[in-house]
C-alpha cells in the first residue's frame, strides 16, 4: 500500500466522520440524523482499518453500524416522529441555542489541540509518528480469551444488566393500574 495514499485516506475518512457527526447533531429529522450517524460510524471503521485494526473495523460495521443502529431505527419507528416534532425542533435550532455550547466546545477543542501539538508530549515514546502494522483478529482473539477472559465474563454481565433493565423499563405496565401515572 502506498504510504501517501494511506495517510490521505485516513484524513479523508476522518473528515467524513467529523462532517457526518456534525450533520447528526444539527439535523432536524431523526431518520436523516441516524443515517448520518451510520456514515460517521462507517467512516470510523475505515479509520480503524487504516490504523491496522481490521477486526475492530469489522466489528464497528457489524455491531455498531449494524446492530446498534437498528435499535435506534426501531426506536424511531416506535416513536413515529412526525412533522410537528420536526417543526418544533426547528424552532429550537436557532443560532442562539448553539452559541453557548459551541463556544464551550471550541474552547475545549482549542485546549486539546494545543496540548496535542505542543512539544514534550510523549515521555516514553518520543517518536510521535507511528508505523502502522496489522494487528489481526487472531492476536485480538487470543488476548481476549487469554488474560482478558474475566473481562469477557463481566461484559456478559453488563449486557445482562442492559437486557434486564431495558426489558423492565420497556415492557407494558401492569394492567390493573387505576390512577394513570404522569397524568398529562
Amino acid at each position: 500500500m502506498n504510504i501517501e495514499s494511506g495517510q490521505l485516506l485516513f484524513y479523508v475518512s476522518g473528515s467524513i466522520a467529523v462532517l457526518a457527526s456534525l450533520f447528526v447533531v444539527t439535523n432536524k429529522n431523526a431518520v436523516h440524523a441516524l443515517l448520518y450517524l451510520v456514515v460517521s460510524l462507517l467512516a470510523l471503521a475505515m479509520c480503524f482499518y487504516l490504523l491496522g485494526a481490521p477486526f475492530a473495523a469489522a466489528l464497528q460495521i457489524i455491531v455498531y453500524a449494524g446492530a446498534i443502529m437498528v435499535l435506534f431505527v426501531f426506536a424511531v419507528m416506535i416513536f413515529n416522529i412526525n412533522q410537528t416534532d420536526i417543526d418544533r425542533e426547528q424552532q429550537w435550532l436557532t443560532w442562539q441555542s448553539w452559541v453557548g455550547p459551541s463556544l464551550l466546545a471550541m474552547i475545549l477543542l482549542g485546549e486539546i489541540v494545543f496540548v496535542l501539538l505542543s512539544q514534550q508530549n510523549w515521555a516514553t515514546n518520543p517518536s510521535s509518528v507511528t508505523q502502522i502494522e496489522l494487528v489481526d483478529a487472531r492476536a485480538v482473539g487470543s488476548l481476549l480469551f487469554g488474560p482478558y477472559l474475566l473481562a469477557v465474563e463481566i461484559a456478559s454481565f453488563l449486557l445482562l444488566a442492559g437486557l434486564v433493565g431495558g426489558y423492565h423499563l420497556a415492557k407494558e405496565l401492569p394492567k390493573k393500574t387505576t390512577t394513570q401515572g404522569g397524568s398529562q
Binding site: 477472559l149 454481565f157 453488563l158 423492565h168 405496565l173 404522569g182
Partner: protein, 477 residues
C-alpha cells in the same frame, strides 16, 4: 487463571451465582419473597466469604484484578449497603405492589457485582467495565417505578451525562495508554508522564469526579436524587460513591511525584468548592432527597480532603481516616433513607420526602424519628456518633499537614451543615400534624435498621473498637 485465583474471587462468584439463581427463579415462579430471600442469602454468603478469606496482603487475580486489604474493607461496606437496600425493598414495595419485584433484586445484585469488581480493579479494561456495570444496573433501578415521570426523567439525565463522563474516562485512559503502552493502572501511572499523559490523568479524574458529584461536576446530582424512588437513591448515594471513591483514592495515591503539586492544588479547590457549595445549596431545600444530594456533594468534598492530604504525606492515618469517614457517611445515609423508605410506598406517585410531610414524626413514630435524628447528628458530626469520629480523623489529618485552607473550609462547611441538619431534626420534633404517617416493615428489616443504628452509636461512643483495629484491617505498615 489458576484455581488459586478463582478461589480469591469467591465473593464475586457467589454474587454471580446469585444473579443466575434469581433469573432461574423468576422464570420458574414469580415471587417477591423468594427473590428477596435469594438476594439476601447471596449477599450474606458473599459477606461471609469475604470475611472468611479477608486479605492480609495484596494478591493479584490475572491482569485485571487484585485482592487487597483496603479493597476488602470497601467490599464489606458495599455488601452492607446491598443488604440494607435488599431488606428495605420488601416493605417499600408492600404486599400488593403493581410493580414486579424480581428484576429489582437482579439489578441490585448486578450493581453490587459491578461495585465489588470496581474496588478490585487494577486494569483499564476492568475499571471501565465494572464502573459501567454498576452504573447501568443502577440506572435501571433509578427508574424502577415506570409510572413516576420524575424517576424516568432523572434516570435519563443520569444516563446521558454519565455517558458523557464515561467518554471522558475512556479518552483519558486512552491518552495514558498511548503515552505509556501500559494498561495496568500501576504501570500506567508510574511510567514517566508527558503533558499528554497528565491531561489524560486529569480527564480520568474528571470522569470519576462526575460519579462522585464533586463540584464542578455535581450539577446532575439533585435532580437524579429527587426523581429516583427513595430506596434507589440510597443505592446511588452509598454504593456508587463508595466504590468510585475506592478507585479514586487508589489513583490519587499513584500520582507521580513531579505531578503532585499540581494535583494537590486542583483537588484542594475541588474539595473546598464541594464542601462550601454543597452545604450552601442544601440550606434552602424542602425536599430531603435534594438535601441529601447536596449533602452528599459536601461530604464527598470532605473525603476528598483526605485524598488531597494522602498525596501530601505518605501516612497510614489517611487511609484509616478515609475508611472511617466513608463508613460513617454510609451508615448515616443508610439510616436516613431507610426511614424515608419505611414511610414511603413504591406504588405512590411520590415518596415521603418533603419536610412538612415529616413534621412531628417523633410523636407518631418515636423510633423512626430517633433513628433519623441520630443519623443526621452523625452527618453533622456531633459527638457520640460515628460521624464525629470520622470528622475527627479528617480534622486531625488536615491540621497535621497545616492545611489551614482546608481546615477553614471544613469548619465553615460544618457550621452551615449544622443549620440545615438541625432544621430537619427540629421538624421531626415539631408539634405533630393531623395526618398519620404510614410506616411498616418486617421484623428482619427493623432488626437490621436497629443494628445499624446501634453500630453507629457504638462506634461513636467506643471508637476504639474499630479505630484501633483499622490499621491492621487495612494492613498498612
Amino acid at each position: 487463571m489458576s484455581m488459586q485465583e478463582l478461589w480469591l474471587l469467591l465473593p464475586v462468584l457467589i454474587i454471580s451465582a446469585g444473579i443466575l439463581a434469581v433469573m432461574i427463579q423468576a422464570s420458574w415462579k414469580r415471587s417477591h419473597f423468594i427473590a428477596q430471600g435469594i438476594c439476601l442469602v447471596t449477599l450474606l454468603l458473599a459477606l461471609a466469604a469475604l470475611i472468611y478469606q479477608y486479605p492480609t496482603d495484596v494478591k493479584t487475580i490475572t491482569i485485571l484484578f487484585e485482592y487487597e486489604p483496603i479493597g476488602g474493607f470497601f467490599s464489606l461496606l458495599l455488601l452492607l449497603v446491598g443488604i440494607s437496600v435488599a431488606l428495605l425493598q420488601g416493605p417499600y414495595m408492600g404486599a400488593n405492589c403493581k410493580e414486579v419485584a424480581e428484576e429489582f433484586y437482579l439489578l441490585l445484585l448486578l450493581s453490587c457485582l459491578g461495585a465489588m469488581l470496581l474496588v478490585m480493579s487494577r486494569h483499564v479494561g476492568s475499571v471501565i467495565l465494572s464502573i459501567e456495570l454498576m452504573s447501568l444496573a443502577m440506572l435501571a433501578i433509578l427508574a424502577y417505578n415506570r409510572e413516576r415521570k420524575l424517576a424516568l426523567e432523572g434516570a435519563m439525565k443520569y444516563l446521558l451525562l454519565s455517558g458523557a463522563a464515561t467518554s471522558l474516562l475512556l479518552i483519558g485512559f486512552a491518552l495514558l495508554y498511548a503515552s505509556s503502552g501500559q494498561m495496568m493502572l500501576v504501570d500506567m501511572l508510574q511510567s514517566p508522564m508527558g503533558l499528554m499523559a497528565k491531561s489524560g490523568f486529569v480527564l480520568v479524574l474528571a470522569g470519576l469526579a462526575f460519579k462522585l458529584s464533586l463540584v464542578p461536576l455535581h450539577f446532575w446530582t439533585p435532580d437524579v436524587y429527587q426523581g429516583a424512588p427513595v430506596n434507589s437513591t440510597l443505592l446511588l448515594t452509598s454504593l456508587s460513591k463508595a466504590a468510585v471513591f475506592a478507585l479514586f483514592i487508589k489513583l490519587i495515591l499513584l500520582v507521580p511525584a513531579d505531578f503532585e503539586a499540581d494535583m494537590i492544588r486542583m483537588l484542594s479547590w475541588m474539595a473546598i468548592a464541594s464542601m462550601l457549595l454543597g452545604n450552601w445549596l442544601a440550606l434552602q431545600q424542602q425536599s430531603l432527597k435534594r438535601l441529601m444530594a447536596y449533602s452528599a456533594i459536601a461530604h464527598m468534598g470532605y473525603v476528598l480532603v483526605a485524598g488531597v492530604i494522602a498525596m501530601g504525606i505518605d501516612h497510614s492515618l489517611v487511609l484509616e481516616g478515609v475508611s472511617y469517614y466513608l463508613l460513617a457517611y454510609l451508615v448515616a445515609s443508610i439510616l436516613i433513607f431507610a426511614v424515608l423508605t419505611l414511610l414511603s410506598r413504591l406504588d405512590d406517585q411520590q415518596d415521603v420526602d418533603e419536610l412538612p410531610q415529616l413534621q412531628g414524626l417523633f410523636w407518631q413514630h418515636p423510633w423512626l424519628a430517633s433513628i433519623m435524628t441520630i443519623a443526621f447528628l452523625s452527618l453533622a458530626g456531633m459527638p457520640i456518633t460515628i460521624g464525629f469520629i470520622g470528622k475527627f480523623y479528617l480534622l486531625t489529618l488536615a491540621i497535621k499537614l497545616s492545611a489551614w485552607w482546608l481546615v477553614t473550609a471544613m469548619l465553615v462547611g460544618s457550621a452551615v451543615g449544622l443549620y440545615y441538619y438541625l432544621r430537619v431534626i427540629f421538624t421531626l420534633f415539631a408539634p405533630a400534624k393531623s395526618d398519620i404517617h404510614q410506616a411498616s416493615g418486617a421484623y428482619v428489616t427493623k432488626i437490621w435498621v436497629g443494628l445499624i443504628t446501634a453500630s453507629l452509636l457504638l462506634l461513636g461512643i467506643l471508637p476504639g473498637l474499630l479505630g484501633d483495629q483499622l490499621r491492621s484491617i487495612l494492613a498498612i505498615g
